[in-house]
């Protein structure tokens, strides 16, 4: 209420005060408001490049960029909701609840998962951007724990001084696809979300690159893509899942350290894994309910 009143204040003051041209000013106000709106509407309706993430017109620009996109990809006859579009045809997300299990004792640190992920998802090759990566934990005799991940482990690990080692192992990491994802909670525009089948995804056409989700992720699983300037993370290779394939890292793991499957199925490789192993999740005290389950995990890992 305060806003509109203060808007009209100069107007009434001008009338009462008998200033030079009160009618002009009133006319100006009454005309400029709709005129301004018409301009704004015209701008949002037809202007706006898809790749112009600047200022307040950002959301409108992205909307304008994505609208023709959806129109051109779907056949002209069925421009319906996104769920009815081709890539998801024959796929029912309500029938799935995905999770990944990782057997730490099987990981040999060969980095094939990292390589496969970078190739499959066009992740930038620079050593700072990973959707999945391998950490080597070296717990030394003096009590120190040294964690290294040179280039995510994509080309192996350098030799370590063996006399120092008390125990050592590899831990593959990725987005935990939390059931209560902090990244989704903090996204100011709704560009990251959890699908019905439990996968946390990022809408690259709608992300404004504010990095809030990157800060919020307790697992460091997100990064800002250097070219698109939008948040990036593991998608469980969603484009493979809808085609009945497993994620690229799971497919490529030579020792079957990664198991992928249905969380709620009574019989699935994942269900068997859950029966046969003691399971732990990362930072379970945060109540994020991760869907990446670790077996044989050392207490030093967080």
């Amino acid at each position: 209420m305060k806003g509109p009143e203060s808007e009209t204040m100069p107007d009434s003051r001008a009338t009462g005060g008998g200033a030079n041209q009160p009618v002009d000013r009133r006319e100006f106000l009454s005309r400029s408001l709709p005129a301004g709106w018409v301009l704004l509407a015209a701008f949002t309706g037809c202007g706006g490049e898809p790749s112009a993430p600047a200022g307040g017109s950002e959301a409108s620009a992205r909307e304008a960029g994505s609208a023709p996109d959806s129109g051109s990809q779907a056949p002209a006859s069925e421009v319906e909701t996104s769920a009815a579009r081709d890539p998801l045809a024959g796929y029912d997300p309500s029938q799935h609840k995905y999770a990944m299990a990782i057997d730490v004792d099987r990981c040999i640190g060969c980095g094939r998962c990292v390589e496969a992920c970078k190739t499959e998802n066009d992740v930038p090759r620079e050593p700072f951007y990973f959707r999945t990566w391998i950490e080597r934990y070296v717990i030394q005799r003096n009590g120190n724990t040294v964690v290294t991940s040179p280039n995510g482990g994509i080309s192996g690990f350098p030799p370590v001084e063996e006399a120092e080692i008390l125990r050592t192992f590899f831990v593959p990491k990725l987005c935990n696809h939390c059931d209560h994802p902090p990244c989704v909670q903090v996204c100011p525009v709704g560009a990251t979300f959890k699908t019905e089948d439990g996968v946390v995804l990022v809408d690259h056409d709608y992300c404004i690159g504010c990095r809030y989700c990157i800060q919020a992720c307790p697992y460091g699983a997100r990064f800002l893509h250097p070219v698109t300037r939008t948040a990036e993370k593991c998608t469980f290779c969603y484009h493979r899942l809808v085609k009945g394939l497993v994620p690229a890292c799971v497919e490529m793991c030579p020792t079957q350290a990664r198991i992928f499957g249905e969380l709620n199925a009574r019989s699935s490789p994942l269900a068997r894994f859950q029966r046969m192993h003691k399971i732990q999740t990362l930072k379970s005290h945060l109540n994020t309910e991760p869907k990446v389950l670790y077996a044989n995990l050392d207490g030093e890992v967080s």
């Binding site: 992205r62 081709d86 980095g111 560009a191 995804l201």
Partner: protein, 246 residues
């Protein structure tokens, strides 16, 4: 109607109109259908291109290799882990031939020694395990054999074996000069092979009046043991695995 009321009414209508218009124009098409996000984004992500076809796609054509692989110790290793992403090849076999890894770099990513690897995983030290030899020279990558006790000396003494193979002593088996007990294969340092201890041993072939083994057809160099070399044993001056011609 009083002037300020009509003004306020107009203003509110404009503001509400702006709000409605903003909602129509600024909120993306499918936003809110499935939750607080753009539902079309799921389709966009699901529409991305697959690069790795998966082992099932490879097996459709390469049945023989698949059978070999599944019976061996690389049963859990996907074809594309070594041959690279091949969805394009699976789509159109003529489009591109998947690469065939050469050398040792790829194998040692998994099988090079690293203390962090799980105990019992087959590993070698690339620096001393037959260096310069491509792994596929000895190992069949589709069905690799587990390490066994070496049957021949070259299993461990590869460098000597390869040197001798191009020398004048190529036709002599190691046991001509070395006596090796069976224990040496299992416990190399506990039972060491013998070396010729006397000049007369080499003299069995190289003395002026010696008779070399019948299968040696080349001319054997002769030396007079009484005058040549003084008190040294022959191998102290000559390298018997690669003896010089003169």
């Amino acid at each position: 109607m009083r002037q300020q009321v009509s003004r306020l009414t107009v203003l509110f209508v404009i503001l509400i109109g702006a709000l409605v218009a903003a909602r129509i124009f600024l909120v993306p098409e499918t936003f809110g259908e499935l939750g607080h996000f753009r539902a079309a984004a799921i389709g966009d992500i699901a529409d991305l291109q697959v690069k790795y076809a998966g082992r099932a796609a490879c097996a459709e054509c390469h049945t023989d290799v698949e059978e070999t692989r599944l019976a061996g110790r690389h049963a859990s290793v996907s074809c594309e882990a070594c041959h690279g992403p091949a969805a394009d090849h699976a789509e159109d076999p003529m489009a591109r031939q998947p690469e065939k890894p050469v050398g040792r770099a790829l194998c040692t990513l998994c099988h090079g020694y690293d203390p962090s690897r799980p105990t019992g995983f087959p590993q070698i030290d690339p620096a001393i395990h037959n260096p310069l030899q491509p792994c596929t020279a000895c190992h069949q990558p589709h069905a690799p054999e587990p390490p066994v006790t070496p049957e021949g000396c070259s299993g461990c003494h590869g460098q000597i074996a390869r040197t001798k193979a191009v020398s004048h002593h190529a036709l002599l088996p190691c046991t001509t000069c070395h006596t090796v007990e069976e224990e040496h294969k299992l416990n190399p340092s506990a039972s060491r092979p013998t070396k010729p201890a006397a000049r007369s041993f080499c003299g069995r072939c190289h003395a002026p009046d010696a008779t070399p083994p019948p299968d040696i057809i080349q001319q054997v160099p002769r030396v007079d043991l009484a005058t040549h070399g003084g008190h040294y044993v022959c191998w102290q001056c000559h390298y018997p695995h690669f003896p010089e011609l003169r």
